[in-house]
């Protein structure tokens, strides 16, 4: 009962927040935060529930962004269609990269996904005839469906909110199914999982593809939001950011991931006061967070509730 009320309150806050906050800048941050939440949720599927560290996340974000950019610029593809296609293309890319990579584990998997991501970035940088290389692809139009046009921070925010809601729905349904149970089993003990009849490779591939589709969808919206895509969308910086969000927020928990995503979107912005030392402080904070928050923020929150004497929610 308490969690139902809590959910309602959170939903209300989230819906009303941008209306309450002053000005475009804060709404802009909310849009970014939402996009990062979407990416982070996909990443957490692979990290928190499957137990593998993929360092190629930025590449899938970029694939989604470039797909939308190319479709809208060259074929005037209308709104939800390009989003769906971006998701599809990213899913296929996830499949193509996942099949060879998921045979590996641990550090090898991390490094090979990093390698693939960097190759994709090099392709974006050098395949000038299609991607215009470092000059990027500008003039990506805003989404337009019938009379509805999404071209303000506020409207983008609600679009992103819908997508995040869908992502959370998908994640929860997945987790409560045979696929989700299989994922967790693989994370906890892969050999035992196989001996209980779980097709480990297939399950890993499913989780990986779905996670990457989230990233691709985020990339697609991002491309529209900033009207411009260039190879920096595939830079490792985004991957590091997403990894930080999930690990510091708390892997394997939706609430933790959301919290981490919001925190890490707002943090670099608020650190702008420190001007050039901004990312220096960010790096230091990241190291500190990893050392002092072993279970992430979510773990901290969970333990503080236990200490407070209430029943810990599952």
């Amino acid at each position: 009962m308490a969690s139902g009320v809590r959910g309602l309150v959170i939903a209300l806050v989230v819906l009303v927040l941008p209306l309450v906050l002053p000005g475009g800048y804060h709404r802009h941050l909310l849009v970014l935060a939402g996009l990062f939440v979407l990416m982070a949720l996909g990443f957490d599927l692979v990290l928190g529930y499957l137990g593998e560290l993929s360092l190629g996340h930025a590449a899938f974000f970029g694939v989604g962004a470039y797909t939308t950019a190319l479709l809208t610029r060259n074929f005037a593809t209308p709104f939800p269609l390009d989003l769906l296609l971006a998701g599809l293309v990213t899913g296929i890319a996830g499949f193509l990269i996942g099949v060879p990579s998921l045979r590996l584990k641990g550090p090898y998997f991390a490094i090979v996904t990093f390698g693939f991501a960097e190759i994709l970035r090099l392709v974006a940088l050098n395949w000038v005839s299609v991607t215009r290389g470092p000059m990027g692809l500008p003039d990506i139009p805003h989404p337009q469906m019938g009379g509805l046009v999404i071209n303000t921070e506020l409207s983008y925010y609600y679009l992103v909110l819908v997508l995040v809601g869908l992502a959370i729905l998908v994640t929860r349904r997945l987790l409560d199914s045979t696929v989700g149970h299989a994922m967790v089993a693989i994370r906890e003990n892969e050999e035992l999982a196989a001996s209980t009849g779980i097709p480990t490779f297939r399950v890993k591939l499913i989780a990986f593809c779905i996670g990457m589709v989230f990233a691709g969808v985020a990339g697609s919206v991002y491309a529209r939001y900033v009207h411009f895509v260039d190879p920096t969308a595939l830079s490792f910086y985004y991957t590091v950011t997403v990894v930080s969000m999930v690990i510091v927020g708390g892997q394997g928990s939706i609430g933790g991931t959301v919290l981490g995503a919001v925190l890490f979107t707002l943090l670099p912005e608020y650190l702008r006061v420190a001007e050039n030392a901004r990312l220096l402080i960010f790096g230091a904070l990241l190291m500190a967070a990893v050392v002092f928050l072993p279970e992430g923020l979510h773990g901290l929150w969970r333990r503080s509730r236990q200490v407070a004497g209430r029943h810990a929610a599952a």
Binding site: V184, A185, E188, T196, I210
Partner: protein, 256 residues
């Protein structure tokens, strides 16, 4: 037609032949014990049968279908489930969740039904939850339902491992040293449990060092030494078999 059949099963690691031309069969409803001194190749046999290890030669048949070379999860889905010599669980999941995973052994893992949350899918998951509770009740572990697997005592953990395999409704249950490290009382309870399992129509093949358990419960016993089968028969015959006695008393291993 035997339930499980090994024909000339052989595996070599470099220069060492760990399992050498081993053949035996297990009939439905039997409890067969696989014994032998340390290093005889018993656990290796388990690995060969369950698909974790590919044999150099020979074949394994389950219900007269060849399963040699199939991946472990496929063999599991055909009804052959096992426990491991070294306790293997899902450490951070609760006892109930551990058993739920085992319960889903033969279920399909499809994404769309999961995402669309069809009524059938929801019903399926509810059944999984309830049946897992049923398995816990059968093994008298219901009190431990929500305890994290890694917080259990050693004996409870070994019991959980059996529960996980049992939950998958195996046709053949393979137990690797289920009595290892158990107290006398726990071993006695294990013997009773295996009897109950057989009463449910499940065939059992077990590797075990504890002679009291093996002799007490097996219908037939197969003896391995240095990778080869040296004897096969009912417990009485095996106890009197010269080769078996020599192999066990002739070395300082062998727990009584």
């Amino acid at each position: 037609m035997p339930l499980l059949e090994l024909r000339g099963l052989t595996v070599r690691f470099g220069g060492l032949t760990a399992v050498n031309d081993v053949s035996f069969s297990v009939s439905a409803g039997e409890i067969v014990g696989l014994i032998g001194p340390n290093g005889a190749g018993k656990t290796t046999c388990f690995g060969l049968i369950t698909g974790f290890l590919p044999p150099s030669r020979g074949e394994v048949r389950l219900q007269n279908e060849v399963i040699t070379g199939l991946p472990p999860h496929v063999i599991a889905r055909r009804g052959l489930l096992r426990t491991f010599q070294k306790t293997s669980l899902f450490p951070r999941l609760s006892v109930h969740e551990n058993v739920m995973i085992g319960e889903q052994a033969r279920l399909s893992r499809r994404v769309w039904p999961a995402l669309l949350r069809t009524a059938a899918q929801r019903r399926q998951m509810t059944e999984v939850r309830e049946r897992a509770d049923g398995v816990l009740a059968f093994l008298q572990m219901s009190a431990l339902r929500d305890v994290e697997a890694r917080a259990l005592s050693y004996g409870e953990q070994r019991q959980l491992a059996v529960a996980i395999a049992l939950a998958g409704q195996p046709t053949l249950l393979m137990l690797d040293e289920p009595a290892a490290g158990l107290t006398r009382a726990e071993a006695q309870r294990l013997t009773e449990t295996i009897g109950h399992i057989r009463a449910q129509g499940i065939t059992v093949l077990l590797v075990e060092h504890d002679m009291k358990v093996v002799m007490g419960i097996s219908d037939r016993i197969v003896v391995l030494d240095h990778g080869q089968k040296i004897a096969e028969g009912d417990p009485r015959e095996i106890r009197q078999n010269r080769d078996v006695i020599r192999v066990y008393l002739g070395e300082s291993g062998g727990r009584a």
